[in-house]
């Protein structure tokens, strides 16, 4: 009786111990499994996030690239039409040189520039069309020579021999500078905008 009781007791004890151990091991295994699962989920969600970020960036990059490309194409087109305006204005120089204001301006420049020189030799370059008019303005001043420059459309260039200085009053130069400062306004006129 005592022996059987003792046996039962020790068996129960061992059973309990095994049960506890088993449940501990089970808990640990579940914990390990969960940890492993979480780690994998975390790792993959991180990778997925990275992929999403990368893909988003690629799309954004493509979008920005296209926008910039578009902007550049539009600007190239605008520039083309502004240059067309320039060519038309350049063609109108022929009309400007026929006006009285033009003759008065040339006369003013020559009298002002030549008044400042004394014995210095001076050469005035002008377009072939203006030669007669300029010779008339210069009169019989022996220090001044008038020469033609085929490339000039209008206006004059005055060369001072002693200093090697040329003062440029050619219409092309003035047009270039004025036109450059007007580009924004011309763009507004052609394509709208403030």
């Amino acid at each position: 009786m005592d022996f059987e009781q003792l046996l039962d007791k020790s068996l129960n004890k061992v059973r309990e111990e095994i049960k506890t151990e088993l449940s501990k091991s089970l808990d640990e295994a579940i914990k390990l499994l969960n940890e492993g699962h979480n780690k994998i989920v975390q790792e993959y969600s991180q990778r997925i996030n990275e992929l999403i970020v990368k893909t988003k960036e690629e799309i954004e990059g493509e979008k920005a690239r296209l926008e910039v490309e578009n902007k550049r194409t539009l600007l190239v087109e605008k520039e083309y039409w502004i240059n067309k305006v320039y060519e038309r204005v350049l063609g109108k120089i022929g009309e400007v040189v026929k006006t009285k204001e033009y003759k008065d301006a040339i006369e003013n420049i020559i009298s002002k520039e030549i008044k400042e020189i004394r014995e210095e030799k001076v050469t005035i370059y002008c377009s072939p069309n203006d030669k007669l008019m300029i010779e008339k303005i210069v009169g019989n001043n022996k220090n001044v020579t008038v020469k033609t420059d085929e490339k000039m459309l209008g206006g004059i260039k005055i060369y001072f021999e002693r200093s090697g200085l040329t003062r440029d009053f050619s219409l092309k130069l003035i047009l270039d500078q004025v036109f450059d400062s007007m580009r924004g306004k011309i763009s507004d006129m052609l394509f709208g905008g403030k």
Partner: protein, 463 residues
């Protein structure tokens, strides 16, 4: 009347300089056009005028310029560049010519690139935080709107990558749409210029970046003009278009080298390291073109990047830069060799204004405390490393060993981050807390208890 004068008497050509005889009325910094016998045109500036001789510095160099048959045209105006918001998304040289096969700027404002100094009384103190997405900067050396914070790099260190990453990621929180980057590449190598261009195009940042580029093989004067044109554009965008502009100037060492080259050609008395004696003033005229102006919505934040020759922080370039700017971010070769990117040495770095732009209502309430604690703990970790090298790690106390671990984690987890990783300030601070949690709580003496209870990983989730 347009005062254009043309001269043909060149008495001497020396390096990038042309000496023109018979000029008595040249103005200092007057723009000059040089027409060669073959019709090629170049531009230059009058940099000196004495005894009827004007000294002209030619932008494109003097190679091929002959004293006979060349015409020098004085244009009667200073160097002005047409500036416009059209320049965003595009690439230009410092003279305003396009480098991306596009047309020149059509609609814009012609501005003298030398700018004019800001009235000190009109300046507003920088107080708003700029998020660069880089923990070592945002967390410990925060950049503020209107601040000038240089990066001191060394040869071969990844300053280009860092600059590109900052340009891509930097943002003023809540005002993302009004943010622009003006990127000045000064004397950049061709592959560097290509890297920046491709990077901005591929990451979608190009839309808000305007690039002003001069290449390494261009004459020195082009390099000295680059930051000036870039800052002129930055000023226009900030103070006329109300934008928040980040101006990145890379590499200011190339700028100073160009300054030295020109100074030597002008036969000026050299100063320290052969650099001109006026380099401090010259650099100040660039660095001081940053800030906020009372009554204006926009701002210019400047991030000049320079290479310290031989990693020497006492070299005249970083030395003079450090006098003018409001702190510095220092890149470290030892960290770089450990494989850490970005290799920012936080102990050598400093943002003098950071304290005024972080904390409650600006970034996060615990920012200042966490920042102070990270600095203090990392400094101790570095000291402990020295000690461990002498007495061995086993002889260290338990706490000291934790500091060693903290130092390692700080470099590997906090400072180190991916080239494409853009961390919000919250993420940065959370990483800070995570690595601080390896230290015993009693060591966190720089952080208020309320923040420890609010943000420390041990307390998070507990009520």
């Amino acid at each position: 009347m347009l005062s254009v004068r043309e001269f043909s008497n060149i008495s001497m050509i020396k390096g990038p300089l042309v000496y023109v005889q018979g000029v008595t009325d040249a103005s200092y910094n007057e723009l000059v056009e040089i027409e060669m016998p073959n019709g090629e045109r170049r531009r230059g500036l009058v940099i000196d005028s004495q005894m009827g001789i004007a000294i002209v510095q030619v932008f494109e160099g003097t190679t091929g310029v002959s004293p006979t048959g060349t015409k020098i045209r004085m244009l009667g105006r200073g160097l002005e560049v047409k500036i416009s918001e059209e320049m965003l998304g595009r690439i230009f040289n410092p003279l305003g010519d396009s480098l991306d096969n596009g047309p020149p700027v059509i609609k814009g404002e012609k501005r003298d690139i030398n700018g004019s100094p800001l009235n000190p009384a009109a300046r507003e103190y920088p107080e708003e935080f700029i998020q660069t997405g880089i923990s070592a900067i945002d967390g410990l050396n925060a950049l503020l709107r209107g601040q000038k914070l240089p990066i001191f790099s060394g040869s071969g260190l990844p300053a280009n990558m860092l600059a590109a990453q900052i340009a891509k990621q930097a943002t003023v929180r809540g005002e993302e749409s009004n943010f622009a980057v003006v990127f000045a590449a000064i004397g950049a190598r061709y592959d560097d210029a290509l890297f920046f261009r491709k990077f901005f195009e591929e990451t979608g940042a190009i839309n808000r970046v305007a690039m002003i580029v001069s290449l390494a093989n261009e004459p020195p004067v082009m390099k000295t003009l680059t930051p000036k044109t870039a800052l002129t554009l930055a000023e226009y965008l900030a103070f006329e278009q109300d934008m928040h502009v980040l101006a990145i100037l890379i590499d200011m060492t190339n700028y100073c080298e160009a300054l030295r080259e020109i100074s030597a050609a002008r036969e000026e008395v050299p100063g320290r390291g052969g650099y001109p004696g006026y380099m401090y003033t010259d650099l100040a005229t660039i660095y001081e073109r940053a800030g906020k102006v009372i009554g204006k919505k926009g701002s210019i934040t400047q991030m000049p990047i320079l290479t310290m020759p031989n990693d020497d922080i006492t070299h005249p370039i970083p030395d003079l830069t450090g006098y003018i700017t409001e702190g510095q971010i220092v890149l470290d070769r030892a960290l770089y060799n450990k494989g850490i990117y970005p290799p920012i040495n936080v102990l050598m770095s400093l943002s003098r204004l950071a304290k005024d732009g972080i904390g409650e209502g600006k970034t996060r309430d615990d920012h200042k405390d966490v920042s102070n604690q990270l600095f203090a703990s990392y400094a101790r970790a570095v000291d402990t490393r020295g000690l461990a090298a002498i007495i061995g790690e086993d002889s260290l106390s338990e706490v000291d060993r934790k500091y060693l671990l903290f130092g390692e984690l700080f470099e590997r987890k906090f400072v180190s981050q991916g080239f494409n990783e853009n961390r919000s300030i919250e993420t940065t601070l959370d990483i800070g807390w995570e690595i601080l949690s390896v230290l015993p709580e009693s060591e966190l003496t720089n952080i208020k208890t309320q923040y420890i209870q609010k943000y420390h990983p041990n307390y998070r989730g507990k009520k």
